[in-house]
Amino acid sequence: MNWEVVIGLEIHTQLSTKSKLFSGAAVGFGAEPNTQTTLVDLGMPGALPVFNKEALRMAVMFGHAVNAEIGMTSVFARKNYFYPDLPKGYQTSQMDHPIVGKGYLDVTLDDGTTTRVGITRAHLEEDAGKSLHEDFQGMTGIDLNRSSTPLLEIVSEPDIRSAKEAVAYVKMIHSIVTYLGICDGNMAEGSMRCDINLSLRPKGQQEYGTRTEIKNVNSFRFIEKAIYTEIERQADILEDGGRIIQETRLYDPEKNETRSMRSKEDANDYRYFPCPDLLPVVLTQEYVDQIKANLPELPNQKAARFQSEYKLSEYDAQVLSASRSMAEYFEVANKVNQDPKLTANWVMGELSKLLNQSQLEITQSPVTANAFGELLARIKDNTINGKTAKDVLQAMWQGEGSADEIIDAKGLKQVTDTAAIESMIQSILDANSAQVEQYRAAEPDKQKKMIGFFVGQVMKASQGKANPSIVNPILAKMLKG
């Protein structure tokens, strides 16, 4: 059977506010257990929530970025269930009236095609705490530092049809929220977590198959792998004539499989109702418009500008603008050397390679964008050639100084003096008279191959410092005799 996969994603994005959604406790990762909690986060009797202004602004920014309707009146609701890391016995979320309504996102895939993914809604909610299952006298420890951390849950339509599309969509969301500065995007620390709703249906069938939900997947790679393995699992069951059970599953990266979270609860009944401790959040058009007017440039807009302003290819523009920090690095470096194509090639090529090798983010690069731009300027003004530049970059990476310092210290400056090059070539031609004879006797297209030998000799004699763009024409002229 030819199956079509249907995927919808729920992405929990941690908003990078200073304080929590409903309390003045600091938001942060890795603090000592229960040191970043207040009466509110602990659900103390009598404690009451007050809503964080910045979380609201961030949610509205996101809404604009995905072309969504903004909920002019949004309402917090309580989702009631018992769990030890849920201190109040309910999670404050939004149900019928979310802050962000219907929107969409155009996602560019690796092959350059674009697909539109509908956004159903995005709503504000508070995070729960953490259960620590290490053994405390055979008991579980509860840390509520994360409790009431602001989350924006972004729910997509079931418009995604492959693992690749899913990953491209999540990357796009990641890029948008980091561009907007509303999320640090740190997936390893749980700043973005993804629930995958997945079902299969025979190609051509209209109605959806039964879906499963894979909870809490927290890296691009795991999202892709979890989807592949779940597709396979569901397809196997369906091919054997079995039925999919609607359930929540967990992805185990070590075994690369999903497994059922055996629900103790036969059926959840969350008893949603409007939170009586919080009031409807009512926005003015002016507020919403003002946020829209001050929205930073988004990835797609930046890519378009890179194409028009810097004459970059669509591909280069997309890659560079996928991450806000890479785009910024590119623009700073380019400002120094004024050669967009050269800068783009080097940022995407040599720099990215070194970052990968060192497992560093571009924001952690030991070579600043300015310093990198200066290095590229030396290529552009023919002080060094590309090959030497790679060595200089290595030295800069090791902290040996600026490009100019290293070029000076190591005497790597190219020879551009025409007379010096002429005399160097003359002595090479003299020493290789047989090859010169052969060259002169050969057909023109054969000559093209033979000239490489002489270039090599010149480079060897100059220890790589002769500028090929100067060497080549002089050499051709002198070989003619």
């Binding site: 506010t17 200073k18 304080s19 309390s23 003045g24 406790a25 600091a26 000592e32 257990p33 229960n34 040191t35 970043q36 909690t37 207040t38 009466l39 602990l42 103390m44 007050v50 809503f51 964080n52 202004k53 910045e54 979380a55 609201l56 018992f82 030890p84 259960s131 620590l132 299952h133 405390f136 006298q137 055979g138 008991m139 579980t140 420890g141 509860i142 840390d143 509520l144 967990l250 979270m261 009944d269 008893r271 409007p274 009586p276 919080l278 009031l279 409807p280 959040v281 009512v282």
Partner: protein
């Protein structure tokens, strides 16, 4: 409106209340009588009426995004039945 013993046990489970058989019978009666009392609402036509959840119909005030609280873990943990290493302890949670 009356509910049966099974309903009572289901509700009690959702509300995390341990009921004995005897309790369940008791609550079956008392809940049924409350539910009959509230049943009279159904005779009223409320079509087109907007639900009222806050008597003043005020809107939400916003708090500045500032950290205003400091660590008070010891005070906050003081009422807990069981703690260790700054954590609240509960019977093992099986995932």
């Amino acid at each position: 409106m009356s509910i049966d013993k099974q309903d009572v046990q289901k509700i009690a489970h959702l509300a995390r209340l341990a009921l004995t058989e005897e309790d369940a019978v008791q609550y079956q009666h008392s809940l049924s009588s409350v539910l009959s009392l509230v049943e009279q609402m159904q005779s009223v036509d409320t079509d087109g009426i907007t639900p009222l959840s806050n008597p003043l119909e005020m809107t939400q005030r916003l708090r500045e995004d500032e950290v205003t609280e400091t660590n008070q873990r010891d005070a906050f943990l003081a009422n807990a039945p069981q703690t260790e290493a700054g954590l609240f302890l509960v019977p093992q949670v099986i995932e």
